[in-house]
Point group: C5
Chain length 155, copies 5
């Protein structure tokens, strides 16, 4: 049994936390899920650390949707640094799942992208906790979460 | 009974600390408030940490109004990083309430925006401490503090 | 009796450390001053931490004059982050007094600005240590150190 | 006997981890290798720290291939900061081997560059652990990993 | 007797470590020197920390030569942050001596600048360890390492 923490935001325009929970449940009985929601991505680092310390998560998915303005890019950068710092301190993996609003051409694609990227990172979470040797098999494959894979290159 | 720390600045053109205190009082008797004021936003991280350590706050609102010049953007970025670092170290939530001077079209709107964003974050503070399950209900709703909500999107 | 640390640089074109000492002495007998000088602003964080640890300062003024080139802006950003990190670790206030060379229109104004900003931050240092309640009275007043105050705005 | 940790990504379009392992094996019997693979470069810092703490590495090679878009540059910057922070905390060397996708003119050169840079950093890893005095002999030689050396300059 | 650590890189096009050693020896018998060389500037923070912890340095000179490309500027920024963080943690001074390749108009001037800046920072190292009061005498003098001093300004 492994425990996965799900932290998302009220700022996001998609309920990414629920998508992550649904995707993780599809991997079977061995996963216990803890969830919390914060206002925005800059509130994620503290919430992630609390997931590790107070609810004993083995891995956390930190889900958010940064806006398209310059100030939002800065927010996303700050949030990423904080999330990474928490991972370093706790020595447990955090999958940051950010969908930037300007990655999608319209609202419909934005919702699609948020779902797809969350689902593909849920698979990463599952593999990292239960089958790390399968991650090594995928090394250098040019994998992407959300849009199409880039694939490997050769000399 | 929960204790909320309010830290604001003399640099801000609006008394955001007082607005936060008034908004929090409207949520009833269960909140005790501690306040301090520093010169500028770069002084917030130390003051926030002192709120946790010396005055035992459960959550802190860090209020500030960065200027519009390039150097002010850098200051805001540094302040945000510091505030986030304090949250990570203390493992208690900090709501950063920053109103950038160039977000508003004139002084009147700047004052309105500072009040509105502070009030809406006071509600977040209340929900996070007293009703975290209501935060989960709001996940992915595209909420904004100050200007209009963006709302959810669907596939 | 409170102890204030003064750290400045040989890079600065104005003896900001001496100006700070003269300004603080004008506030009377209750302040004891410690001083050190380092080459540039990136040397300030270590020197500030030593002021707290080895010379027991209650507050430190970190004084510097970043140049106008792009690389100097980056240096100032790095120095600011380091100074903030020291404040967070030590939980004692640091007033960063930086005068950017391109803030002034000529050498004469640069010298004036360095003196004026240092003097006004010396007053902040005094108030923060001896009269923190007076800082709260000044919240949201749009105060500036050096150039003219911006003043408060209203809805 | 020294232990070298190899951490790479599924995002990379080249199996840099395998290249590193092959290159290190060519240096003989004294090296024991540990490997793990994570989704992207922002997952490297935690994985590197786990290499030191859980698998007792003496040095870690952190291999990744940042994309060409602006957001990828920011990711690479965040990853680099995290990797460096882990090195500082653990006080053991980490060789960051990043190949930016826009460094190469086509896929074939990208694959060549990823191999060549990884191999040359494997040599650095070997020298740093077994012959640090040979690193001093190479000081100031304008060495590069991947493309041609820049060479020394003289007055 | 004071111990000064010298850390430089194989990336640099000038043997800055040797220049620093020669310059420090000119200050007489009271200085003991420790040296190590790493591949690039991003490897400096760990090497500097090891100088303090494993070889008991009182001060470290961290010498490097960042390239002229955008990615090199980012590397230099990351290296500077890491070096500063080590200084804060160890509470001992580190003189970062970086010569950016685009500061010089040709190879000959680059070699001159690297030598001159290293020598002038060696003097700073000597003064900081043996005569800190002389650093205070130089406060606000507009000193520069390498190119000409800017000098003081007056109202």
């Amino acid at each position: 049994m492994k425990r996965i923490g799900i932290v998302d935001t009220t700022f996001s325009r998609v309920n990414m936390g629920q998508i992550a929970i649904d995707a993780l449940k599809a991997f079977g009985e061995g996963i216990q899920i803890e969830r919390s929601t914060v206002p925005g991505i800059k509130d994620l680092p503290v919430a992630v650390r609390k997931m590790f310390r107070e609810r004993n998560a083995d891995l956390v998915m930190a889900l958010g949707m940064p806006g398209a303005a310059e100030v939002d890019k800065t927010c996303a950068h700050e949030a990423s640094q904080g999330i990474m710092q928490v991972g370093i301190l706790e020595m447990r993996p955090i999958l940051e799942v950010f969908v930037h609003m300007d990655e999608a051409k319209d609202d419909k694609q934005l919702a699609w992208l948020a779902r797809r990227r969350t689902e593909e990172h849920a698979e990463n979470a599952y593999l990292m906790l239960f089958h790390p040797e399968k991650m090594i098999e995928r090394a250098g494959q040019g994998l992407r979460q959300g849009f199409e894979d880039a694939g490997p290159v050769r000399e």
